[in-house]
Symmetry: C4
Subunit: 126 residues, 4 copies
């Protein structure tokens, strides 16, 4: 049940942080974009994220540690080191881990009065 | 037409049960998260679901029986043994079966006045 | 450019035809569920769809012909032979073709005043 | 970090450009359909897109150049050569590249007062 599951490199070509949210949204309903990571194995995973843009060089790595037998629903909005991601700018991400993980991409967009959702499994690149 | 189709282990990294629903929602429009399972084969499938969390040990197995040539659109909200899943908490799931099955992940979110939907095929892990 | 592309068997575990639509919706905005098929090759494809349910035996085949170098965005709502699919009932589908095709699943839900969308690539089963 | 990642041929069976948008939408909220491309490698990629329709022959290629280590969130609405895509017509696309890329499909539909989103990884065909 705690076998390591997944791959060590995943790709999400679609990245975009909506620049607004509905008025008075709490954190759950704030517009956000997430990479949901699962480390089902018994070893801590060290994850490095590189971001790609339309007209400038890649930025990264953003470093994340994901405990054994843990999930992390990582919000790209909350990344800050080496630099925050500008809302409203198209980007893509490559997610590399030293342990097998599984990655799913989700966005909640609350720019309008109601929310919209999208999700897809990331692409296993190795 | 009734060949066994699919895999025996599937992963859904993104799990989240919206903590509210629109007022007066009937069951169809209640916020929910589902794993849609298809057992196209001629043998009953015995399914075990393990849940992973952000900062505590995995919980499970949740046990489900899926008849031959049947589909089950399982709502995570309705799981109760060994324990219900707290709404509003991030989780991930690993779904294991003794027969090949196919698994798709869907969420209906009716926290706002309108509904939002997401869906993706789960990740085949074996 | 007109190579045959894809697989001969695809699975969509999640099927559900929303039982209502917004008032006065035109066909484009009617609640519907679609399997989008692409036959990129030079031979006509003969497609057979079998539907699976929660508590009764499978129904089918529903037979579709898909021309060479053509796409068909097939609405499950509009299938009628051997029998229409009851709105509001959970189902799953297996789509088989004598030529390679690619299949994507989409739903437009207009039960509320606004629309919601989901989509995922179907699962290639062969 | 700048390895070439992905495949050279991708398929998106579901294509549809919503024929309207909400009133006064800015570009970000205009109804649109996008193929998000990532070229993580060190060589410029030359991409050719062919469109398939329900009842007429394929159109293309649409030619795109994608720089090394760059992403492009290509809106189908904005393609014009050899011809624009008629809004409201079902289509499908095959995307071919001379370098490995990864492709994700996204639609933002703002025909109603609120937006709806869908996304899925394209299907890697080679």
């Amino acid at each position: 049940m705690t076998d390591a599951i997944g791959r060590k490199r995943w790709v999400i070509p679609e990245g975009f942080i909506p620049p607004q949210s509905m008025i008075n949204a709490n954190r759950a309903l704030l517009s956000h974009e997430a990479a949901c990571l699962l480390n089902a194995g018994d070893k801590e995973a060290h994850v490095r994220i590189t971001l790609f843009f339309t007209d400038r060089e890649p930025v990264g790595p953003y470093k994340i540690t994901l405990g054994a037998r843990r999930t992390l629903h990582l919000r790209f909005n909350e990344l800050s080191d080496p630099e925050p991601i500008p809302p409203g700018e198209d980007y893509a991400s490559v997610i590399e881990s030293d342990q097998p993980i599984v990655v799913q991409h989700t966005r909640l967009d609350s720019r309008a009065a109601e929310i919209a959702l999208l999700s897809t499994m990331a692409w296993p690149a190795d």
